[in-house]
Structure formats: C-alpha cells, structure tokens
Amino acid sequence: MATSNAPHSLFDSAIVRGAVLASLAKLNPREQVRNPVMFVVFVVSMLATVLWVQAIVSTGEAPARFIGWVALWLWFTVFFANFAEAMAEGRGKAQAASLRKARRDVKARKLSAPSRQAPSTMIDGAALRKGDLVLVDAGEVIPGDGEIIEGVASVNESAITGESAPVIREAGGDRSAVTGGTTVLSDWLIVRIAADPGQTFLDRMIALVEGAKRQKTPNEIALDILLAKLSIIFLLACVTLLPYSIYAVAQAKAADPASGAAPVTVTVLVALLVCLIPTTIGGLLSAIRIAGMDRLVQANVIATSGRAVEAAGDVDVLLLDKTGTITLGNRQAAAFLPVDGATLEELADAAQLASLADETPEGRSIVVLAKKHGLRERHIHELGATFSPFSAQTRMSGVSVNGREIRKGAADAIDAYVARMGGRPSEQARTIVNEVSRRGSTPLVVADGKGRTLGVVELKDVVKGGIAERFAEMRRMGIKTVMITGDNPITAAAIAAEAGVDDFLAQATPENKLDLIRKYQLGGRLVAMTGDGTNDAPALAQADVAVAMNTGTQAAKEAGNMVDLDSNPTKLIEVVRIGKQLLMTRGSLTTFSIANDVAKYFAIIPVAFAATYPQLDALNIMRLNPATGILSAVIFNALIIVALIPLALRGVKYKPVEASVLLRNNLLIYGVGGLIVPFIGIKIIDLLLNAF
C-alpha cells in the first residue's frame, strides 16, 4: 500500500498554522461571494461592525459592548468557515508538496527519430510537448508521462505509487505506459511523451488535491440552490421582523403609554439571521468537497473531475474482471484425470513434459503438481526437447522429445489435433471436461502425437478470500456485481456462484463488453469498471465511472476518468465508498444545520421581544440570561463549525447497509441530534458567559 499519500494527522500543527493565515486572506469579498450563505454572514458582520462603531462614537441602538461582542462572533463565524476550507486545502497542499518533490527539474534527451542511435538534444523536461521522443537511460528520471515505443526496463514508480518494488515496463502490450517522475533502474527506454506540460498525472494530481479545480458538481449546485433558498427565506423573515416589531411597539404604546416597549434592534436581527441561515453546512461545504478528493488521493486514485467521484456514489453496476479481482491472479493445476486407459503416471509425466518450458503460471503449477506425484523436475535442454509455445492459431502448447509429440490445450483444440493425428477424439475426455467445467475449473486436455488422448488436467481458479462477503455488501448497497471473464459460460457460472457475483459475462470480448455497458446504461443504470489494456479503452470510455490501472496503456488511462496508481482492481469498491461518503457528509450536515434552528429560535425570540412583550419570556425554556442569551446562540453557531471540521474532513461513517437503514440511522444522529445538541450547547455557553 502507498506510503507517500498517507493521511496527515487531522490537526497537524503546521497545517493549522498555514490555515489560520489562509483564512484571514480569504476574508476578501471576491473570495466570499462564491459561497452565498457565508457571503450573507460576511455582509451582516460588516453591518454589525458599523453599528458598533456608531455605538462608540455616538448613540448606538444598543450598548456598544453588546454590539461589539455580537460583531466579533459574527466575524469568528466567517473566519471559522474560512478556516475549515483552509484546513482542507492545507492538507491537500501538504500532499501536493510531497508529490511535487517527485517533479524535480529533469533534463530530457530529446530524440529526433525513434531510434537509440538518432541524434539527440538535451532540453528542459518542462519544455517537452506531446509527441516528443525522449531517450531515458538507467538511473535517469523519466521526464514526462508517455508510452514506450522501444526498449524494456525496470522502473521504480515509488514516487507515484509508494510501492518500492520495481516494475517492468516494455514497448507494446499493456505495460507500455510510464509516468513522469519515476526512475529507470536498468536498461533504457524510448518514450513518446503523451502530455503537454501542466497536463501530466502529477500536475493533475497536484491540481486535484490543491482544490485548484473549483468546478462545482451538479449535486453541489443543487445543494447551493437549496441553501440559498433557505437563506433568502430567513433573510425575509428577519428583515420583515423590524416592521412587525415597530407595529407591535406602537400597539403596546397605544395601550399603555408608559410601556417600555422598544423595536427590536438591527443587531439582534442580524444575530438571529446568522443563527438561522444554514451556516454550518454553508461554512463546511467546500471543506467537504476538498476532503472528499483528498480521501480519493489517499486511496491512491486520481480522478479527472469531482463529478466522477460523485458519480461513483451513484454506481449501480460494477463490472469486475475475474482474474486478479475475483480470483487470485492465476489458475492452479489441481488434479490429473487420466482417460481411455492411460495411467495417472503416464498423464502426469506427459503433462510435466509439455509444461517444462511453459513459463506461464498455469504451466508452472502443472510441474509443481507433477512433483507431488513423485515426478522429479527435468530440464528441457538435457532432454533435447523442443518447445512449441502457445499460439493464438493452434491454441495449444507442448514439446517434441525423442520423436514423441505431446500437446496440451483447450478441449476443442486438442480434439482437432487428435483428429489431425489420425486418432479419435475421446468421449471420456469430453465427459470429464464438462464435469471439470461445471466445477468452475478449467480443463486442459493432454494428447500425444499418436492421436491418443491421455487425460485432463484440472486447472482451478482460486477465489480470493473474503470476496464473497464484499459482494454481499455491494448487494446491500444496491450495487450489482458483474464478473467479466474470457472463460466459457459453464466455467464462468461456477466461479460466479462461488464468488457470489450477481451476474457474469462469459467469453468476453471488447465488443460484447461495450454492448453490456450500453445495455445497462439504456436501462438507466450507472456502470463502473476497471481496465488496463488498449482493448479496454472503448468500454472504459463508455462506462460512467472508469478506473484505469496505472500499469495500463496510455489509451486506457485516457479513456478512463480515474487512474488507480496501485493498479488494484478491487479499488473500485473503495472508490464507490468514497463517493457515497462525500454525498452523505453533505446531506447529514445539511440536516444537522437546519435542525439546529429550532433551539436557536427558543434562545433568541423571547429575549429579542422581551421589551415589547415581557410575557414571551415563557418561551425561554432554556432559562438563558436575557443579557447573554442571544450572544450564546451566536457563539454556539460559530463554534459548531469548528467542532464539525473533523467530521467534514473525515467524512461521516459509511456502513454498507440498505438505503432505508442508512437514512434512519443518519436521521437519528444528525436530525434528532441536530435538534438536541444546540439546546445543550447554548445553555452551557450561557452558563459559562455568566460565570465570568
């Protein structure tokens, strides 16, 4: 797992210091106007300050001390909201800084032609454009993202992934992409640069964590509209309260000229307004967004946009490659099943011979299994054998030793081979092949050059431990899991049953994969998938959430909207969780913020109109001191923002349960909690204010 992007402790002192300074800088009105709720607070804070100055230099509408305290805490409210945002940004910046270390100023050897011998010029790495060719030798840093067009080399990618073990990168195939900032350890590479300056992964990652891309997602815009609407309603409620109060005072004075009734002061109205508008969520909104992106980066995933992260929360179909995601990388030989009178030893011997030179994991596992049957490992060169490797045409591999030919391969390929050699395809083998397939294993048939079928090797897929539980979780979250495999339908069905996926696509090709995604999308579903190969690119481009493996090809990475630096296909599940958590944090804090208003009314209204209608004191159920009650509510309103910063940064807890259960739990915690907490908080603050 990554080390470079490990989370910083929540209140790292350096980050806090930076955030304090940044929050002061954010007091710029142009900065504030982006957040409608906090802008209202900003404006009325200025108004309160003007009233305070007026109260000092001439006669104020209320004691200067009272106005001053209210104004001060209103400014604190603005400051705390800025601080929340600055904290989130600061944490992002700290990560960006560690990423930036990877982007040293490197020199690049630019080639004029795609050949090691071609004339080259040394230029600045930052000056490379898309399409430039560069040569990178052992010990050098790769100057930019690109695709290898020649060479094989081991590359240290720890700067990006945090994984220190070197990886092999080579031209052609699915391991041809390299990332700027990584180091070639051995050999050399010719790389075609794939990104203009400022567009590389590292740049994108830095931009993402720094929150430079401030584009709001549709969800955020909709929430902003809701918050703006609530702010307008409360603004109207508070503004109209002044005429109502003036009328009430006139009525009270008419009834009793000696009445001490006085209209509500602007300071009190301003305090009421700030307490009512949803400042808690308004102040934490951008922190939540930045922190959500931050969590994604901590999981070592880069997203091209915030929208992709939110879409991850909406995903209802997950396409997962079988190999590596659901099963352990490779199939293992599990049994030799001789047929047509061949003995177990005969079959084991033939299978071992045919696999000696086969360097695929399956081939090696056959040799290992043969060893368990008492067969020593032999060396192909000592036997004077010639190896015929697997090819797409024959779909078989094998050896020729001492004039004897042995072949192993898929059942139909071997059947064809046997027929060609003048033998008859074995009925018994066919039965066993079907049986093995039904078990979810892969049958490999072994035959010799005399047209004799010796038997079947059962290759077993090993389903990853705990994966079935994860899929059950997914199901509870309402996400359908679909296994994608090149296996035949029978094998696929057996593995699907064992792993507990909801559906599978057998004998998958890039085309039917794309069709499957389109089919789901037509039904209104949002599809997520992972991929690494160039042939995955069309499907990745079609999927709503497409996570490309960092080890994958450039084409795959460009088609996807996220890149997983760890190249771990199970990461998709993590991405979904992060997306959901981001939305849930927003929703929960909105609920909390609105529920808070009830208590604030009880704190402010009785005190505000005490002069006109002293009887309203009956509503002062918290028994607040009339002199400090309003200030207590304002202070609570400011402090709750700070108190919730950790929650905004960490995100609310997500448990993979049904939506109805989730709603009930969150309503209890943030709705009912939001009703109760301010009653307690305001009372405590009031007690403290009066204790001194």
């Binding site: 549709p218 909709a222 508070c238 209104g524 939305l583 929703g587 609105i594 208003d597 009887q615 969150n666």
Partner: protein, 575 residues
C-alpha cells in the same frame, strides 16, 4: 373536549379515508382516458366540446405550450369575471338591483376566483347579482379547480414519463376534470344539500316579519327613543349549486357573506358533515390517483400519510384549545360559533378549510382563542400542502417531497432521485421558487400592511390580535386559501390591490415552475430501483417529509407568530 366530539372527528376521518381509494381510482381512469363508467353518458358531450373549441384531443403538449395555454385560459377568465362585475347593473338576473362592483373590488375578486383562492373582500348578498355569481364566480369555481387538477396531472405524468417531452394536453385535462369529476360530484352534492334546506332560487330577496321584533338603541344618541325593528330581508339565490362546487373545488367562496355559517348555506348537521367532507374529498383522493398513475400506490399512501400526520394532531389541538377556552373566558369558547355545530364541528371545519386551500368557514376564526386561531393560520403558512387545493395541494406537497428527497438522498450517499427521476439543479431551482414565493409574499405583504396607515387602519382589534388579522389575511391570499379571519376591513383599495397581487403571484408563479419540473422530469429516463435507492414510501421517509414541511414552512413564521397569536395567548394568560 368530550367523547362525543372526539367520536365525530374519528367518524369524519374514517369516512374521508374510505373514499380515498374509490374516488382516487375513478380519477386515475379519467386522466388516463380509460373507461370510467360515466364516459358512456358524457363522451358525446366531451367530443362536442372539443369540436366546438377546435381542440385536437390527441395532441400532446410540452410544458411550455401547456403553461402558455393555461395562462391564456386564466387571463381570459380574469377579464371575463372583472368585466361581468363592472357591468352587472345593466345585465339581467339582478333582482336586488345591485350596482356595478367597484374597480378595486372587481380586480380583487376576479383574481381571487380565477386563482382558486376565493378570498372575499365583498359580501355576496349585498354586492353580486345572481348573474355575476353564476356566470362569473360559479364558472371559475369549476375551471379554476380543474386548472389545479390539470397541473397536478401534468406533473404526475412528468414523474411517470420516460424520455418524452409531452406532459399531456391542457384543454383535455381541463375538460375531463370538469366534466367527469367536478360536475357529477357537484350535482349529487347540490341535490343532497337542497334536501337539507340550502336555497336554490331565482326569486328576489324576501322581506318577512320578525317573529320577535327587537329594539335597537341608536348609537351615540342616548335618551332618544330606540328604533323598533319588525321585519328583515332574507337574501335568496341559486346557492346550493354554488356551494357544492365551492367545497368540492376547494374554492370556499360563500354565496352569502357569512359563508357556511349562514343557515341558508349550511342548515343542518348533515349538510355540515357533507360539506366538510367535500372540502378534503378530492385533495385526499388525488393522492391515490397519483400513486396509481406513477405505478406505485405506496407512494400515494405515503404522501397521504404525511398529510394526515400533520393534520390530525392540529385538528386535535384546535379542538382542545377551543374546548378549553381561555383563562378569561371560563369554559369552552363559543364566541363566533354556531350553536347547531358546536365546538368539535367548528374546529374540524376550521382545520379542514385551512388545511385544504378552501377558505369557507362555518365559524369565525377571528373569535377563536389565540392558539386555536394560530393553527388555521399556520396551516396556510406551511404552503397549503396538507391536502391543499384540488391539485395544487398535492403539487405543492410534491415540491416539498423534492426538497426532502434531495436531503435524504444525499444522506444515503446517492444523487437524489424520486420515483427513479434524478433531482438535479434545474428541479431544485424550480422547487425552490415554488416554496419561496408564498413565504415571501406573506412576509412582505404583512410588512407593507403594518407599515402603511392604509394597512394598519383596517384592523378591528389593537395589540397582537390586530397583527394576527393582517398576518392571517396575507397568509390566506399568498397561499390561495381565501379564508378570512374576519375583523379585518379588507374591502379597501389597499387590501384589494395588495391581496390581489399576492393571490395572482402565488397561483401562477407557482404553476409555471411546477410545469417546468414536469417537463424536465418527463424528459428523464427513470433509474431502476435497487436496495441502494432511497425508498420514499417508508415511515422514515414520511417522517422526514413531515419534518421538512414543518421546518421549512414553519420556522419561517415563528417570529411573526410569536408577535401575533403567541404573544396574545401569553398576554391573556398573564391577566
């Protein structure tokens, strides 16, 4: 409160709920143009209307065309009702020889009836000729109700549709609502009411001798001989037909000034029961229609449940406050109530008429205890979404559902969706406008009235009660209820104009965003339901919806209510 009263309220609720399914089922068939029984009788009439008006019933409209048709239709209605009042003196069917209605009152009344508000600044029997009542107000009682139902049906089609632009045909929805739903129900109800003694007559007002002549002291002239009154004028008119639709169409505009407290409008306990049942009948049944039309009846029940969860406690509270009276007034508060109805039936009517945007009264809300009067006022302020007007109540509630779904959806970690339709910035913007406009109109209208002498001089009581009268008037007009607190002299140019503007904006500025949402939702493809989808039929969601209605609708008015009824109650208490 007594057991007999509580029993009556329970019977009322039981009968109401029992009608929900059959009537809801019938209306769903009407709007889907399926055979509904009455079509055999009325289909020729329907076809004739289309032919006569040149309507192509198969033509589907996008939301903009739908909205434009609706606005043009309402504008024509507005001009017609205004003009009719202004020239009623020279038109027939005016046996009481009533003069033309003043321009400001005509303006106010025209908007009032076209917007399904039926706020009445005038007294019926002393202002309107029989022709104005029937041709102007009576017609609007039908078509303004049908307009509200059409908008609802368009919104429901938007929710049920998939990737289409069409939300229906306004002219067809209007015609079918009137012809198949409002007319038959009104005819039945009017006949029953006539059997109970509600008048239906074209004869001129009758002068009759008093059985108990009364003597009246002339004010300010002490010592002079008092006047002896021996006869009285009994106003008549085609009342029963108008009263049936006034209740069924949540119009509420009375034929006579004191509305359903008048013995000619509402003579017996049975007529009272039927009328108060008619108030909530269609709004409640439309919930079922909605569930049926979106292919998920549970959704309809859930919305109805949310309405009942708000309605029942408030009904109980009104009954409780009125039965308890005040510390000044020992015993139940019978002031302003008819003895033939009593506390329970008056409280029921007051709650039902303000829950639905009906506004007819059988008792005077001005005379309620402060808190008993607070509840009807607050029911209007939360946006007329607890039952509400026919059609308009449910589409208003669905706007709150959108807000609730949005917050709840985020809380379960998904882009919010309702009935498979994603709620995105456009829907949010329109729902925000729909919720914001009535709130803003109440607050700003009241503020203008208390600041201006033309406004504050209209109150009949000093202190917080006077403030309540003004707040009540604007709450009523800005939510298209039409109920009056009485006490406020509202037939003045200031109130006629300001309340007229409130009624107009509250009705039409709300209909346009609602239709916009219908159009936008219709165009979306539904997202299939999974266990990750927020279920919107569960008790948890109903609770959430109730909280959103109360918090968004009510928190706005807490300060204003504190200065009105709450202060009044506490002042009374301290005496």
């Amino acid at each position: 409160m007594n057991l007999y009263g509580i029993f009556q309220l329970i019977v009322y609720l039981a009968v109401l709920v029992a009608f929900v399914k059959p009537l809801g089922w019938y209306m769903a068939r009407v709007y889907r143009a399926q055979p509904c029984g009455l079509d055999r009788l009325l289909a020729p009439a329907e076809r004739a209307i289309y032919r006569l008006c040149g309507i192509e019933p198969g033509e589907m409209m996008g939301w903009k065309v739908y909205a434009a048709s609706l606005l043009i239709f309402s504008a024509v209605g507005l001009l017609a009702v205004y003009g009719l009042q202004r020239v009623q003196a020279i038109l027939p069917l005016n046996p009481a020889a009533l003069a033309a209605v003043t321009p400001d009152s005509s303006f106010n009344t025209a908007i009032s009836f076209v917007s399904n508000t039926n706020w009445q600044g005038y007294g019926g029997e002393t202002t309107m000729s029989y022709l104005s009542q029937m041709l102007g107000l009576g017609v609007q009682n039908f078509v303004s109700a049908a307009t509200g139902m059409a908008v609802l049906v368009a919104l429901v089609r938007g929710l049920a549709g998939s990737g289409t632009k069409a939300i229906g045909n306004f002219w067809v929805d209007l015609t079918r609502s009137t012809l198949y739903i409002l007319l038959p129900l009104s005819i039945v109800l009017a006949l029953v009411l006539v059997s109970q003694g509600v008048v239906q007559s074209f004869r001129p007002y009758q002068t009759v001798a008093l059985m108990q002549p009364v003597s009246v002291e002339q004010a300010g002239k002490e010592g002079e001989p008092s006047t002896r009154i021996v006869s009285q004028v009994l106003p008549l008119g085609p009342a029963a037909s108008q009263i049936a639709i006034k209740q069924l169409g949540t119009n509420g505009g009375g034929f006579f000034n004191v509305n359903s407290a008048h013995p000619f409008e509402n003579p017996t306990p049975l007529s009272n029961f039927l009328q108060v049942l008619a108030i909530l009948l269609i709004p409640a049944a439309l919930c079922w229609t909605f569930g049926e039309m979106v292919h998920d009846r549970r959704q309809g029940w859930a919305v109805l449940a949310a309405m009942l969860v708000i309605f029942v406690p408030l009904l109980a509270a009104t009954y409780w406050f009125e039965a308890a009276g005040t510390s000044v007034l020992a015993g139940p508060n019978m002031e302003g109530k008819e003895t033939r109805f009593g506390i329970a039936n008056s409280a029921l009517w007051a709650t039902a008429t303000t829950a639905a945007s009906n506004g007819s009264v059988n008792s005077m809300h001005d005379s309620y205890t402060p808190l008993g009067g607070l509840i009807p006022m607050w029911l209007m302020q939360i946006g007329e979404v607890v039952f509400g007007g026919v059609g308009s109540g449910l589409y208003g509630m669905l706007m709150f559902v959108i807000v609730a779904v949005f917050v709840a959806g985020l809380m379960v970690g998904r882009t919010p969706e309702y009935l498979g339709k994603k709620i995105e910035p456009f829907e949010m913007k329109m729902a925000a406008i729909a919720v914001l406009i009535p709130c803003g109109l109440v607050l700003l209208g009241t503020a203008a009235a208390v600041l201006l002498p033309q406004g504050s001089s209209g109150t009949s009581n000093p202190g917080p009660h006077g403030f309540s009268q003004i707040l009540y008037a604007f709450s009523s007009a800005s939510n298209n209820n039409g109920s009056a607190f009485a006490g406020l002299s509202a037939n003045t140019p200031f109130y006629n104009f300001s309340l007229g503007v409130c009624m107009f904006l509250a009705r039409f500025w709300l209909i346009v965003p609602v239709l916009a949402i219908a159009g936008s939702l219709a165009a979306k493809k539904p997202v299939p339901t999974t266990s990750g989808t927020l279920p919107t039929h569960t008790p948890v969601f109903v609770a959430m919806l109730v909280c959103v209605v109360i918090i968004v609708g009510a928190l706005t008015f807490v300060p204003a209510l504190a200065l009105g009824p709450v202060a009044e109650q506490l002042l009374l208490h301290s005496h």
